[in-house]
Structures are given as structure tokens and as C-alpha cells.
């Protein structure tokens, strides 16, 4: 009896010790940086040193709340941010939000605030009014990334976009105000047909995520159809587009259903505005159509290159992704706020800005893409050095402007990869 008890007690102690030690490792870094923050704070007095070029910013912490905790996009973004850490004097901490639960997200943001962050980059628009209230109460700034903040934009514009603690958001090429994705898709299709003049694609079908989540995808699909119709008016070989089918073509964040292929029996290619690598391609493989059907899709999860263009089965003929460097937008705006400065041409209210996209259309594009920071997860390949980023801030460069920042954001195309 005694022995059993002893065992039990030691089990508790062990678990406790594990928890404490696991926690200890993670912490030691955090504490020291906090101490440094305090010392540099008083030393530099960052706010009033706006005119000196290449000045060091205030030491600060920025929390990044991602939509998932793994994947190429997240990993490369983290690598990029970490590379900026020393030069910008920023420590980054990360958390993951839920896709669906407002209260859970609020708790995550509160926990970030508790861990002493000065700014937050948030990839989800859920429970945002209460989150902004928390930020206002705690004096923490918040910027968006890869998210259109459409719910807030339409239902809580005053509380969110007009708040002085919200700095704006960078959207992955699909701002509902400025949809270009339909045209991009059409351009890619025509580029393919020009390259394969002997066997052009003349019949396509589409796939989108539901409108409640991504309203811009429906708009993009409409834009694509319109572009095809305009093209057909003059083209020798017109292209047929199957209209969107509510049942099979709208993916409620579940993989494509196999009935899709029966419904679109004549289709030669799928134009997927929804993330095709995760939601369309697996079903194609399962149904054995991955060598006969082509796929044009947003997103790149890694591994697509094996069946891209003329490689492998040649399923993928186009991938479209956002450069991780575009997180620079909310980051620079947050740093400006934290350092108490702003651009001379800073708009009065926060904006949502479309970023340019990497549109990978050909084998050459893919070769180029494979050297990018996104693909290599190596910040040495990033389009901007830490010094470049510092120069984008209002305190790092007195000549920096908001227009410049927006310009940079729209220049992140496949051709600008180093």
C-alpha cells in the first residue's frame, strides 16, 4: 500500500517537474529580453529621434497569431520575421487562433497581451470588436495579415477600422474591393494555351470556398467567366466554362467530392479559387484523373513542384501564393505606432490592401519560385533585407512614405524574386 502511494506521489512530482522545466526553457529568453527592453527604453527615447537616419527602433515584442501552426507559408513567414528581429529590435512570439470560436480567439489575444506584447499581427477576423477593445484597454496595436477583415469591414467598421489601435491589413491578393484573381486565372489559362497551341484547354470548371468565408472568390469566379466570354467573342477556339454548381463546386472546407468529375465530365482543367493543393488535388488522385485533368489553383503547400508544368503527371499548371515578405505591411505600420511616429501621407483610417501574388505559370517560374524565401524557408532569399525594412519605417527613414510601402507590397511578383 505504502509503495503504491509513493509511486503516485512521485508521479505527481515528476509531472510537475516536467512542466516546470519545459516552461523554464521557454522562458529564459523571454525574461532577459524584457529586462533589455526596459533598459533600452530609457536609453534611446525613441519617439523624438525621428530625423536621425537608420536609428534603432524601440525594443519591443510583437505577437503573431497565425491561422495554423505548420505549413510552408507559416514556416517561411516565421523565418522571415526572425531574420528581422535583431535589426528592428523586435522579439516575435507566436500563437494559433481557431477558425471558428470568437471567445477562444479573444482568450488567445488576451494571453498575448498578458505576455507583454506591444503589437499583434492577427490572421483572423473573428470576435474582432471585442479583441480591439482589449487592445485599446491594454494599449496594444493590432494589424491584420492574409485576411480581408470583411466581417468587421461591413459590420463593425467604426469600432475596428476607425480605431487608432488598428493599423490595417494586408490581404493575399483578394481584397473584396479590388478583385484581380479572376483575371489572373484567365491570363494563366491563355498563357498555357499559347504554350500548348497544339492541345489547348477549351473546357474548364471551377471550385471556390463558400461566400460567407471568402466573398472575393465568388467575385473572382464571375470575373473569370466574364474574361472568358470577352475572349470568346473574338477567339478562333472558344473556351467553355461550366457554371458554378452549388453542390459540388463550393467546398465547405472539405475536400472536393468525387461527383465533381461526373458533373464536369468534359472539363479539361479545374480553376480552383479555393486552396486546391489541399482540397482538390487529393480527390483528383483518388479518382485517377490527376494525369488527364489540369489544375490551376491558389496556394502552394510544398510538393506540388513534382507534378508541375512538364514535370511528373503535369497536373499543376498554375499556383498562386502570397510572398511571406508581405507581412512587412502590418509590421511596419505597427512599428511606426509603437515608436510614436507616422508617415506624412498616412491615411486617417486604417486600410485593407491587396498584396501582389506570386503567379507561377511555367517551368521557368517554378524554378525561380524555388529560390524564394517562401519555398526555401530561408530568409537569406527574402526580397528585402532587414535594413530595407528598417528603411521603410517612418523612424528608420525620414523620407519613407505610406505610398512607398503600398508600392512595395504590389511589387512582390514572381519576377522580383532575387
Amino acid at each position: 500500500m505504502k509503495k503504491a502511494l509513493l509511486k503516485k506521489i512521485s508521479a505527481v512530482l515528476l509531472a510537475g517537474a516536467m512542466a516546470v522545466s519545459a516552461v523554464g526553457c521557454g522562458n529564459s529568453g523571454g525574461n532577459t529580453s524584457n529586462n533589455n527592453a526596459a533598459s533600452t527604453d530609457s536609453g534611446t527615447g525613441a519617439g523624438d529621434s525621428g530625423s536621425a537616419p537608420a536609428v534603432e527602433g524601440k525594443k519591443c515584442t510583437i505577437g503573431v497569431a497565425f491561422y495554423q501552426d505548420t505549413g510552408l507559408a507559416v514556416d517561411s513567414t516565421k523565418a522571415y520575421l526572425e531574420s528581422l528581429s535583431d535589426t528592428l529590435n523586435v522579439k516575435f512570439t507566436y500563437t494559433v487562433l481557431t477558425q471558428t470560436d470568437e471567445a477562444a480567439n479573444l482568450t488567445k489575444i488576451q494571453e498575448l497581451i498578458s505576455s507583454n506584447v506591444d503589437g499583434i499581427i492577427c490572421t483572423m477576423d473573428l470576435g474582432m470588436t471585442s479583441i480591439i477593445q482589449e487592445c485599446e484597454a491594454a494599449g496594444v496595436y493590432l494589424g491584420g495579415y492574409l485576411c480581408d477583415y470583411d466581417t468587421s469591414f461591413n459590420t463593425a467598421y467604426d469600432q475596428v477600422f476607425k480605431s487608432e489601435y488598428f493599423v490595417g491589413t494586408a490581404i493575399d491578393g483578394q481584397s473584396p474591393d479590388d478583385v484581380t484573381i479572376g483575371n489572373s486565372m484567365f491570363d494563366s489559362l491563355i498563357e498555357y494555351n499559347e504554350r500548348n497551341a497544339d492541345a489547348p484547354i477549351t473546357h474548364v470548371s471551377m471550385a471556390i470556398f463558400p461566400t460567407w468565408a471568402f466573398p472575393s472568390q465568388q467575385t473572382g469566379a464571375d470575373q473569370f467567366v466574364a474574361a472568358v466570354e470577352a475572349y470568346n467573342a473574338t477567339a478562333e477556339t472558344p473556351i467553355t466554362v461550366d457554371p458554378l454548381d452549388e453542390e459540388s463546386d463550393v467546398l465547405a472546407f472539405a475536400p472536393l467530392d468525387t461527383t465533381y468529375f461526373a458533373k464536369h465530365a468534359d472539363s479539361q482543367a479545374i480553376i480552383s479559387f479555393a486552396a486546391g493543393s489541399a482540397f482538390v488535388y487529393p480527390t483528383m488522385v483518388q479518382a485517377g484523373v490527376d494525369s488527364s485533368l489540369k489544375l490551376f489553383t491558389t496556394g502552394f503547400d510544398g510538393g506540388e513542384e513534382a507534378n508541375f508544368g512538364t514535370t511528373g503527371n503535369g497536373t499543376y499548371q498554375q499556383n498562386m501564393v502570397t510572398a511571406p515578405e508581405s507581412i512587412t505591411y502590418p509590421l511596419v505600420l505597427l512599428l511606426n505606432k509603437i515608436n510614436g511616429v507616422s508617415f506624412p501621407d498616412q491615411p486617417a483610417e486604417a486600410e485593407r490592401i491587396s498584396t501582389a501574388q506570386y503567379v507561377i505559370n511555367s517551368d521557368e517560374d517554378m524554378a525561380k519560385f524555388q529560390k524564394s524565401c517562401f519555398y526555401t524557408k530561408n530568409a537569406a532569399n527574402a526580397m528585402y533585407t532587414p535594413q530595407d525594412v528598417l528603411n521603410m519605417t517612418a523612424y528608420g527613414n525620414p523620407n519613407a512614405t505610406y505610398a512607398d510601402l503600398k508600392g512595395i507590397l504590389s511589387s512582390m511578383t514572381i519576377d522580383s524574386i532575387k
Binding site: L5, G26, T100, L106
Partner: protein, 327 residues
């Protein structure tokens, strides 16, 4: 006749191993909380309070169900639907205070109905209660999706003010809500037939029935009491963000179960069930998550550490029956 012998420390430990493990967990997480919150201690306290408020109220209600040795997996989806319904009703009535009251009464009635269903159907069909709650879970998952589809958005917001503008006022309101629910639950669990009978049912249902207890009736009442707490908890959760959507409440059922186990509630229910388990467990759980985040522990590690602690608690508290099966 009765010789009172001195209780040795080892005996004491053995008898109170549940409580000791549970309170030790709370104390350890609280100390870590004090250390790592640093300068934002008071803000962080509010964070913990807010995160724990809905959990603790629902967990308090769940004590009645868990003390019978039953569990409920539908609570998360119920919370989601109740929050959405409450928003829809309030908004439909123009966002008035009256609308809020009506909205709450509707979800309260619905929660009581679901409680009655959970208890009664399980008895009538002689199904394990987890099966009926699974049914409810699927039902509410569908209802939640349908309701949200009808709005055409991912998340809807309430158009009434249900949260005091002043943060401190809000925190006081939450503390009061937890205290009031805790007092009511404690009263019914410790000093009324409801608690005595649910514990009896958990410890030995046959005996309890043979003592003249209408177990069907009391099971239904216990589930309804739980339902009432779910309704209040849903409202409290709603006050935090003022909005709800497709995934609101998902994962609550598991979280509640983990909270209760961390608090020392035996999964088999019975006489050792205690109200304090709900509060101790909820705050341990919330503090633990908070500690790990404020310490900057890697996200993947957080889940690992949680799993280790959870398994350790289970190992310590689970009762080992004597192996009396020869050969």
C-alpha cells in the same frame, strides 16, 4: 466499542489523494502565474477570470451529471447554438434589453428541454447517456451550421449592450456570476435531495433505487440543472465577444471534462464527487494554459505538457481495484 485511532500521515495522504493532487495543481499553476505575469499581473488576472468564467459555470452544472458517473459531449455545440440563437432573437427584437431577456429565456427553456431529453431518453431507451448526448451533439452541430448558413456570414454580432463598458465592472460581474452559481450549485448538491441522489446513483444505482429514489426522475432533474448552467454559461460566454459563429463552443465538452478531472472529480461519480472540483479544475486548466503562453512555451510543447500533466493526474487519481481474478 469504537476505538478512535490516530490517523497516520500516510493514511491521510491516501484518503485525500484526489484533493491533494487537485489543490497542488492549482497552487503550482497559480504560483507560476504570479511569477510569469510580471508587470501585467492585474490585466492577466482579468484574462484568466474571463477565460474561466463560462467554463466554471458550465463545469459547476456538470457536477450533477458527472456525480452520477455520466458525461455529456453535446455541451459545446449547445453553447454554440444558444449563443447564436440569443444573438438572432435579440437582434430581431431590435437589440433592446427586453430582447436580451427574451433571448435568454428562450435558450434557458431550450437548455432545460435538452437536459430533460438527455436524462429521460437515456433511461427510457436504456442507452448509456453518452449515446443520447452524442445524438444531441450531432443535432446541434447541424443546427449551428444551418443557423449560420441562414445568416450568410461566418460570425454574427449582438446589437445590444450586454457587457458593462467599464472593464472592472465587467470583471466584478463575472466574479459575482461565478459566486452566485457556485452557491446555488453547492446548496443543491450538498444540502438537498438532488445532490444526495445523484451521488447515490453514481455510487450504486440499484441501491439508490431500492431506497425509494425515483432514479429516472432525478436523472432528468440533474440533467436539467446542468442545462440551466449551460444556458447561463452560454450567456456569460456571449458577453465576452458579443458574437458567435459556426464554431462557437467547439471543444467545450472535452474542456469541461478535463477541468473536472483536474479538479479531482472521479469519472465514475459517486460519493467522492465534489462541487469544488469544478472550480479548482477550471482555474487550474485556464491558469495552466495561460502560464504556458505567458512563459513563451512553444505551441507544440504546450499541448504536450498539457497531455503529460493530464495523464499524471489520471494516474494519481484513478482507483485501482484489487486484482482478484485468479489464474
Amino acid at each position: 466499542m469504537s476505538e478512535k485511532e490516530k490517523v497516520t500521515p500516510a493514511d491521510f495522504l491516501k484518503r485525500h489523494v484526489y484533493d491533494i493532487a487537485a489543490y497542488a495543481g492549482l497552487i503550482v499553476t497559480f504560483i507560476l502565474f504570479l511569477i510569469f505575469s510580471g508587470s501585467r499581473l492585474s490585466y492577466n488576472m482579468a484574462t484568466v477570470l474571463q477565460a474561466a468564467s463560462a467554463y466554471s459555470i458550465i463545469a459547476l452544472g456538470a457536477v450533477f451529471v458527472y456525480s452520477m458517473g455520466y458525461m455529456d459531449v453535446s455541451v459545446g455545440q449547445q453553447v454554440g447554438v444558444y449563443a447564436i440563437l440569443m444573438i438572432m432573437i435579440t437582434n430581431a427584437m431590435g437589440g433592446t434589453a427586453f430582447g436580451v431577456v427574451i433571448g435568454f429565456l428562450v435558450i434557458l427553456a431550450l437548455a432545460l428541454l435538452c437536459g430533460a431529453f438527455n436524462g429521460a431518453v437515456a433511461v427510457w431507451l436504456k442507452l448509456p447517456s453518452i449515446v443520447t448526448s452524442l445524438f444531441l451533439m450531432f443535432f446541434f452541430t447541424g443546427a449551428q451550421l444551418l443557423l449560420m448558413e441562414s445568416t450568410g456570414t461566418n460570425s454574427i454580432s449582438i446589437q445590444a449592450t450586454i457587457k458593462p463598458a467599464d472593464r472592472n465592472m465587467y470583471n466584478v460581474m463575472l466574479v459575482l456570476a461565478i459566486i452566485v452559481v457556485a452557491i446555488i450549485v453547492t446548496y443543491f448538491f450538498k444540502f438537498s435531495k438532488l445532490g444526495k441522489y445523484t451521488r447515490g446513483i453514481g455510487a450504486n444505482e440499484v441501491t439508490t433505487a431500492q431506497c425509494g429514489v425515483n432514479t429516472t426522475k432525478w436523472k432528468v432533474i440533474a440533467y436539467m440543472a446542468f442545462g440551466a448552467c449551460v444556458a447561463v454559461g452560454s450567456f456569460i460566454m456571449l458577453t465576452r465577444t458579443g458574437s458567435a459563429g459556426k464554431g462557437t463552443g467547439s471543444g467545450y465538452a472535452m474542456d469541461i471534462m478535463i477541468c473536472l478531472i483536474l479538479g479531482g472529480m472521479p469519472l465514475s461519480g459517486g460519493m467522492k464527487s465534489k462541487v469544488s472540483s469544478a472550480l479548482v479544475g477550471t482555474f487550474t486548466y485556464v491558469l495552466l494554459t495561460n502560464d504556458l503562453t505567458t512563459m513563451g512555451v512553444d505551441l507544440n510543447l504546450i499541448n504536450f505538457v498539457k497531455a503529460v500533466i493530464f495523464i499524471a493526474i489520471i494516474m494519481v487519481t484513478c482507483r485501482k481495484r484489487d486484482t482478484i481474478l485468479p489464474r
